[in-house]
């Protein structure tokens, strides 16, 4: 067997072994060490001096001292703090009153709350369950259509992985070797575009079919009162997110620094809302260490595995094969996105980005595709995998907290139009790549 063939065997075995359900990080480390031992075996060298040990320790230390990944625990911490800051209910009820004049005001408010909260928190499950407990019953009580309301909550909750400062984009940046600043800049307008399209869709449907979304009863809240409510609920969180993002995009602070200041701001915010208890601080700290360990050990495994894989020539073989197919860039993009979409069924986003996206990355260059552009497409694509059966996490979370009469099928049906919007957004993005690439180019030309 030639070395590249061994590499393919390694990849095939990995796919099989993942299905056994063992924690993937350790499967990757062990396979990396095992195959690496074979790859670096020299008869003249004692087995305990095999270079694979150097490779193992160097790759592990690269993860430990990565200045990109440093931002991950900080953004997670900020998310966990904000999640516990009693902020969602204020935000939703304020926006609900402020949106009175619009069509489908409560749905618009729910969507905005989801978008803003998901952006700050970055964890889909928390956003969907909190909103499912808070906004969903309110929507149903106000007479909104069940499908319509559940689509709004699920789609809004998933926006957090696309709109910066998303943790998924940091993970992608570390995997693809692009800067976080550029990844954030690239996702900025597509994120706003998608949120805007959701908003237009919600208002449009309510205008065409008013039975889906009853008008808000007119209450007499003065403009001054509304302004005060907005100033105390919407504004602080919006300012927090905007300053974190602004500091990164304008180059005032590194993503790590911005994330630290964001966490600090989150603590201040939670304290101001009288939600910062010792208990909650401990919860946030412990959840941060667990989620960081999960993501970063996966990186250790993936970097060990993939360096052995490319040393054996697996990367080159795949590249040769795919380039030899003479696909057009469009066909390649569509196939790649379909594969990633299908991977979203059995796997979580962290596994997809850290383990499987690296297989596509070396192929981008021969097809002339910008890795930033690809990353934004992947982020858009993953939105859909949270809303489609069989592994629709967002839908399951919503079902878990909604009143018993709400059927899972209704939730899926409600998500369906939003899936169409995501695919439409991907088509727009393909035809006008400037939506994603203009801002990162602009930032680079200014600096």
């Amino acid at each position: 067997m030639t070395d590249p063939q061994v590499a393919l065997l390694m990849l095939g075995l990995l796919l099989l072994l993942i299905l056994l359900g063992f924690p993937i990080a350790f499967t990757l480390i062990a396979m990396g060490v095992g195959f690496g031992f074979y790859a670096y075996y020299r008869p003249a060298v004692d087995w305990w001096d095999n270079s694979v040990f150097d490779l193992l320790v160097n790759q592990t230390y690269s993860v430990m001292s990565s200045d990109i990944l440093t931002a991950i625990p900080l953004f997670l911490f900020m998310g966990y703090i904000v999640e516990r800051a009693n902020i969602v209910d204020r935000l939703f009820f304020t926006l609900n009153i402020a949106a009175r004049g619009m069509p489908a005001p409560m749905a618009v408010a729910a969507l905005l709350t989801c978008a803003l909260f998901a952006t700050a928190v970055g964890i889909i499950g928390a956003v969907v369950t909190l909103m499912g407990l808070l906004a969903f019953p309110a929507l149903l009580k106000a007479g909104y259509d069940t499908k319509f309301a559940s689509g709004v909550i699920c789609a809004g909750g998933c926006l957090g992985i696309l709109i910066p400062p998303s943790i998924m984009l940091i993970v992608y940046a570390a995997t693809a070797g692009v800067s976080i600043v550029q990844a954030y800049a690239a996702a900025m307008f597509p994120g706003i575009m998608l949120a805007g399209m959701y908003m237009l869709f919600v208002m449009g449907r309510a205008l065409i079919n008013p039975s889906l979304a009853p008008k808000a009863p007119s209450e007499d809240t003065s403009t001054g009162q509304i302004l005060w409510m907005v100033a105390t609920s919407f504004l602080p969180l919006a300012v927090l997110i905007a300053s974190v993002l602004g500091a990164i995009l304008f180059g005032l602070a590194t993503p790590t620094e911005a994330a630290a200041v964001g966490s600090f701001g989150g603590l201040v915010l939670a304290a101001a809302y009288r939600a910062l208890t010792w208990e909650r601080l401990k919860e946030s700290v412990y959840l941060t260490v667990r989620t960081s360990a999960m993501v970063c050990w996966l990186f250790v495994g993936s970097w060990v595995f993939s360096s052995v894989f490319s040393y054996l020539g697996g990367e080159g073989l795949i590249k040769e094969f795919v380039v030899g197919l003479e696909l057009s860039p469009l066909t390649f993009l569509i196939i790649a996105q379909i594969i990633i979409f299908l991977l979203g069924w059995p796997l979580e986003w962290s596994e997809i980005i850290i383990i499987f996206v690296p297989i596509f990355l070396p192929l981008l260059e021969p097809f002339g595709i910008d890795p930033l552009f690809f990353g934004v497409l992947v982020a858009l694509n993953l939105q859909t995998s949270f809303m489609t059966p069989p592994m629709a996490m967002a839908a399951y979370y919503l079902k878990g907290v909604s009143p018993p009469h709400v059927q899972l099928m209704d939730i899926f049906k409600g998500c369906f139009p939003f899936l169409g919007i995501v695919i439409f957004a991907m088509v727009i993005l393909y035809n006008f790549p400037g939506v994603a690439l203009w801002l990162p180019d602009y930032i680079y030309s200014v600096r």
């Binding site: 993942i18 299905l19 359900g21 063992f22 924690p23 993937i24 990080a25 350790f26 499967t27 480390i29 062990a30 396979m31 060490v33 095992g34 040990f53 193992l56 320790v57 230390y61 430990m64 001292s65 200045d67 440093t70 625990p73 900080l74 911490f77 999640e83 516990r84 964890i123 499950g125 928390a126 369950t129 909190l130 407990l133 808070l134 620094e257 630290a260 200041v261 966490s263 600090f264 909650r280 401990k282 700290v285 412990y286 959840l287 941060t288 260490v289 667990r290 960081s292 360990a293 999960m294 993501v295 050990w297 059995p346 796997l347 962290s350 596994e351 592994m391 979370y397 878990g400 907290v401």
Partner: protein
């Protein structure tokens, strides 16, 4: 056997939680750096090194704690369909074939790596030994971070023996011993509260809202 399991889990948990507080050091240290740079116009020489040293220590030392709470991500689409005994057999084999050798390699390689780092003498033969960071002139030591590597891997082996014990208990009794639990993700807490509320009563107005979750316990082990 249960006592051994309990001891190992407590050890990993204690270490993981202790090092979890690195996040606070990171938050405040880095915020201080930003303030020092923009307000006092006096950037620090240590903030950059501090941030990745804290980050590296945090996630490495938290690995065993995460393992003990089953927090490392699995591809469990098929796995969860199997009976507990089947799961336990597969895991038991894989702990011996994959996990323990992999972590043993990390301890072995990491010990050499750390020892080499400690043997550097950046201040000359008379100065203190130990590698310093190349990123700033004030010489932040990085040998401790390199030492974290084999120590964390060793803790993983210890927790690995606890996981092996769980597998053996499950093979014997046919059921997984319960995991220790403390804090859980908010969505899991809310989903569980919801289920409990549905069991107890069917009055919708008694169902939990985000406010009632204030009273949830964080440390109930």
């Amino acid at each position: 056997m249960y006592q051994f399991l309990y001891f190992m889990n407590s050890l990993s948990t204690w270490v993981g939680k202790a090092f979890a507080w690195c996040i606070i050091v990171m938050t405040f240290g880095t915020t201080y750096e930003v303030i020092a740079r923009y307000v006092f116009d006096a950037p620090t020489g240590w903030a950059f090194d501090m941030s990745y040293i804290m980050y590296g220590t945090l996630f490495m030392m938290g690995g065993a704690y995460t393992l003990c709470r089953d927090g490392h991500v699995r591809g469990d689409v098929i796995y969860r369909l199997w009976p507990p005994r089947g799961q336990a057999w597969i895991e038991l084999v894989l702990y011996f074939v994959f996990f323990l050798p992999g972590m043993a390699a990390l301890v072995y390689a990491g010990m050499d790596y750390a020892a080499e780092s400690w043997s550097y003498q950046p201040y000359g033969p008379r100065g203190p030994s130990g590698e310093v960071s190349i990123f700033s002139p004030i010489g932040v030591p990085v040998s401790p971070l390199k030492t974290v590597l084999p120590v964390a891997a060793f803790l993983m082996i210890l927790q690995g023996t606890a996981e092996v014990t769980r597998c053996i208990i499950c093979i014997r009794t046919g059921a997984w011993p319960q995991r220790m639990h403390d804090v859980e993700e908010l969505q899991d807490v809310l989903l569980k509260e919801r289920e409990r509320a549905l069991e107890h009563s069917l009055h919708l107005d008694e169902l939990p809202t985000p406010e009632t979750t204030d009273q949830r316990k964080g440390e109930g082990q």
